[in-house]
């Protein structure tokens, strides 16, 4: 008596169950969840975290991304015009959130991101109200541009805080499965980096990966994957994939080696990185911002400035180098040292600053770094300065890359393509299954063959997806083709088994077991050839089609070791019945 639930069928059932658990299909899931939270933001400080499902914003139910955007749109405020009077100028500025200036107790400006408000100016009045002290200032500003309260109710609790701007988070529709879509389906930026030097060790590549990921994290990009890849000739690459970000910010940030040096009289005083610079001011208007903006040839040029703290060794070096410098008079009559401090980024001079005479030979730890940004008009010049400043701050915090690198490939993929593609692939899979079934039916005209064959194909797709979800492997276009290829060879094998079992009848000497064994002799050989032919693909194209190679190999292995034995078992049962 032949049973249908043989051990081989149970193994298949087991793997399907595991796969379903891994994929966790949840087609009825709805709502949105947090995709990423910007580092060092108000949202992060107030405890918002990735993957939290958002239920309500300010008592408004949130079902879709559009709901969310509407609910937080009140935080997109219209700019308010402020007329500011200082002891040296009068000006009007438009602001939407806090005024990006810093000042001391006398209301003398110490930092400013507002063009026209220069350091050293003293604020006298805002919107015709006299400002006598800091309290006056804060009261008035809070009245003119009040902070708004936002309450976000999530599955993980309620978060409520005061803010000027929309939460610094990105949201997505709640995941309906655990399958991770690849970059070409989800949209985003992919950069393939190649060290300019030859013979780079694995250790250096690992360092490169860690500095880069640190750098991107400091910059505020969290949803990213960085890994090193090697190709068949031993070339080493670093592959960076960031979901949902445009390429130019990334390009700017990672293409630079970021070798920062501050030199006085050609001697290096300090370099970027934690060792020399334990503290770099970033994202804090009181110690970083735009210092001044001026009309320059054909446009505007702005200067940014931010504070850093030197380690004691670096401060000692500063004292050592400045000790022997002469004190001279600057053109505007100040006492300065004869040599400037020069800031170099990747061997390019960024800025050169005079050193006050009082710093001569001193182990000073607090220093300001500055640099320019230019543009056609003041606004663009200012934006560019802020961009340059962010980049320089990031580089100073994370240090330089261990090797100089070049961008070998830069892809920026829109998410629209992927959305259509996924729908399209489902349709395609269904029709391809129907086509295969039709050909098989024409050949055998027996539903007892077709049903197990379809079950096998579908369970193969399920198990491959399940394994991908389990090992957190991205499903991209290449992987989908791999799945199609694997299922295709699977069908071939099933046809071989069917023919051996059904039409091997002339050889009555053989029993079912022997026939299936013979079928497997053929199947195993073709499995082995596909397997070995696919292996080299792992290293081709700097790993860009690794998804294809891996899914093909997983697919054919699942086929040969799990689904095919079960199929043989089922066919054996049906034929004997």
């Amino acid at each position: 008596m032949v049973k249908i639930f043989t051990l081989r069928v149970w193994i298949l059932v087991f793997f399907i169950a595991i796969s379903l658990l891994a994929i966790r299909p949840n087609p009825f899931a709805s709502g949105i969840e947090i995709k990423s939270v910007s580092a060092n933001s108000l949202a992060a400080d107030n405890g918002l975290k990735q993957d939290l499902k958002i239920i309500k914003v300010n008592d408004i139910d949130i079902k879709t991304i559009a709901d969310y955007n509407n609910a937080v749109s009140y935080l997109n405020k219209k700019p308010v015009e402020l007329s500011i009077v200082t002891d040296r100028s009068k000006l009007k500025v438009n602001v939407t959130n806090k005024i990006k200036i810093g000042f001391d107790e006398n209301l003398t400006i110490t930092k400013s991101e507002i063009p026209g408000l220069a350091i050293g100016d003293k604020i006298l009045a805002i919107n015709s109200k006299d400002i006598k002290n800091i309290t006056d200032y804060i009261d008035l500003i809070n009245k003119i541009i009040p902070k708004e309260k936002i309450t976000i109710k999530t599955k993980g609790g309620e978060f409520s805080y005061l803010t000027y701007s929309q939460p610094e988070i990105t949201v997505r529709d709640v995941k309906k499965t655990n399958i991770i879509k690849g970059l070409d389906l989800e949209g985003g930026t992919r950069v393939l980096l190649h060290p300019k030097e030859k013979d780079v060790t694995d250790l250096t590549i690992n360092d490169l990966v860690s500095v880069l990921s640190n750098r991107l994290n400091v910059y505020g990009l969290t949803d990213l994957s960085i890994r090193s890849v090697k190709d068949l000739s031993g070339n080493k690459y670093v592959l960076v994939e960031i979901a949902g970000v445009s390429s130019d910010e990334v390009e700017n940030l990672i293409a630079a080696q970021g070798k920062f040096e501050a030199k006085i009289a050609n001697q290096t005083v300090f370099v970027g990185g934690k060792k020399d610079l334990p503290f770099v001011c970033r994202g804090d208007g009181s110690c970083s911002g735009i210092r001044s903006c001026n009309a320059a040839q054909g446009g505007y040029q702005c200067q940014f400035e931010f504070a850093i703290r030197l380690s004691s060794e670096a401060a000692k070096r500063h004292a050592e180098v400045t000790k022997n410098l002469q004190i001279i008079q600057s053109p505007d009559g100040r006492s300065i040292l004869e040599k400037n401090i020069d800031f170099y980024l990747d061997d390019q001079l960024v800025d050169s600053l005079q050193i006050g005479a009082d710093l001569k030979g001193r182990e000073t730890t607090d220093i300001a770094i500055s640099g320019p940004g230019s543009g056609q008009d003041q606004k663009i010049a200012q934006e560019n300065s802020i961009k340059n400043m962010n980049k320089l701050q990031t580089i100073l915090i994370t240090g330089s890359l261990p090797v100089d690198i070049e961008i070998a490939k830069l892809d920026n993929i829109s998410p629209t393509l992927g959305n259509d593609f996924v729908k399209n692939t489902f349709l395609l899979a269904i029709f391809a299954l129907i086509a295969v079934t039709l050909v098989v039916y024409i050949r055998y005209r027996k539903s007892m063959i077709i049903i197990p064959m379809m079950i096998t194909m579908i369970s193969e797709i399920l198990i491959i997806m399940g394994i991908a979800a389990l090992i957190k492997w991205n499903i991209d276009i290449a992987a989908i083709v791999g799945i199609i290829a694997a299922v295709g060879t699977g069908v071939d094998d099933q046809i071989i088994i069917t023919d051996e079992v059904l039409f091997g009848e002339k050889e009555t000497v053989l029993n079912w077991k022997q026939r299936i064994k013979r079928a497997f002799a053929i199947i195993m050989t073709s499995f082995a050839t596909v397997f070995v032919a696919t292996i080299p693909l792992f290293w081709v194209g700097a790993g860009l089609i690794r998804g294809f190679a891996l899914t093909t190999i997983i697919g054919i292995s699942v086929g040969v070791f799990i689904t095919r034995p079960a199929f043989a078992s089922i066919v054996e049962y049906l034929v004997n019945k």
């Binding site: 000739s233 070998a408 490939k409 029709f431 086509a435 002339k506 032919a533």
Partner: protein, 291 residues
């Protein structure tokens, strides 16, 4: 006389068909080589340059001549995307060696009168040296794949002529598929190269079936019966694959997949000849001689 009899009695004459196919294919490849210096035209991912994809329902008909006139010394090749089965425009794919993407983007915004954002504009840029590295990788991978495959085949069958026949069939399929790519203008890329490698797998499937039946099943039925059994099984295998790939080819909205499916389709078509004409002929002769 039945088709089967005709087939089995005229196997030698029928060799003319695969020979003609092979000659035409090789001719096409060598012609390409003599005119362009390479057997297959490489795509941007292998020679360096940029691929721009725009999703838009705007008419993109004159985009190529527009770009050529705007950027005189650059090369542009444009492929229109349409919704399946209609002529409704869905977008456009532009390949170029011009590296000022921002300029192209601005010009296209001008021309199409739409704003190009992250949501409708994709760009993939490959450096020339990386393209070169990728090309050589592909060739190395193909050589390795063939060597590994040959080793498996030799270990399995342990006889020279039949093993060479299997390997020859794979080469034949690949050459025909490559010639087809040439004629249809499908460029060699990382993905079409992967398709060519996949072809090895699909191609040897049927050959292994045939060789096993002829060489290892001498006790069951006479030689011709075993050949016909193999043909029945093998063509069912090939036709299911062709059916699925045809459906895929016509339904997919991804050019990458379309190209891959087409390459495998052409290879499978070639496989019908290489296996059921050439290989049957060689193996039959071998089996009769070594009885």
């Amino acid at each position: 006389m039945s088709i089967a009899d005709f087939y089995i009695n005229n196997l030698k004459k029928l060799q003319l068909i695969p020979i003609i196919i092979l000659v035409i294919s090789m001719g096409s490849l060598f012609y390409a080589y003599s005119t362009t210096g390479q057997f297959l035209d490489k795509d941007i991912s292998l020679k360096g340059g940029s691929t721009i994809t725009i999703n838009t329902d705007k008419d993109t008909t004159n985009i190529e001549s527009f770009l050529n006139s705007r950027f005189g010394n650059a090369e542009f090749s444009v492929r229109k995307l349409t919704k399946f089965g209609t002529s409704v425009p869905e977008g456009v794919i532009i390949e170029t060696n011009f590296d000022k993407i921002d300029d192209i983007k601005a010009a296209l915004e001008d021309f199409l009168k739409i704003k190009l954002t992250n949501n409708n504009f994709s760009v993939e840029i490959t450096g020339a040296s990386l393209g070169k590295a990728f090309s050589s990788q592909i060739i190395i991978a193909m050589i390795f794949a063939f060597i590994f495959m040959a080793i498996v085949i030799f270990i399995t069958f342990r006889v020279f002529v039949p093993s060479v026949a299997v390997i020859f069939a794979a080469i034949f399929d690949m050459i025909v598929a490559m010639a087809g790519m040439n004629i249809l203008g499908i460029k060699l890329s990382i993905s079409t190269a992967a398709a060519l490698l996949l072809l090895i797998g699909y191609s040897v499937d049927t050959d292994i079936l045939l060789t096993t039946k002829i060489l290892k099943r001498k006790t069951s039925g006479n030689l011709n019966d075993r050949i016909f059994e193999s043909i029945k099984t093998g063509t069912t295998m090939t036709f299911t694959a062709i059916a699925a790939l045809l459906v895929g080819y016509f339904l997919t909205n991804s050019y990458v997949m379309k190209a891959m499916f087409m390459v495998i389709l052409m290879g499978l078509f070639a496989d019908l000849f290489s296996t059921w004409l050439v290989n049957v002929y060689l193996l039959k002769a071998y089996a009769e001689k070594h009885g």
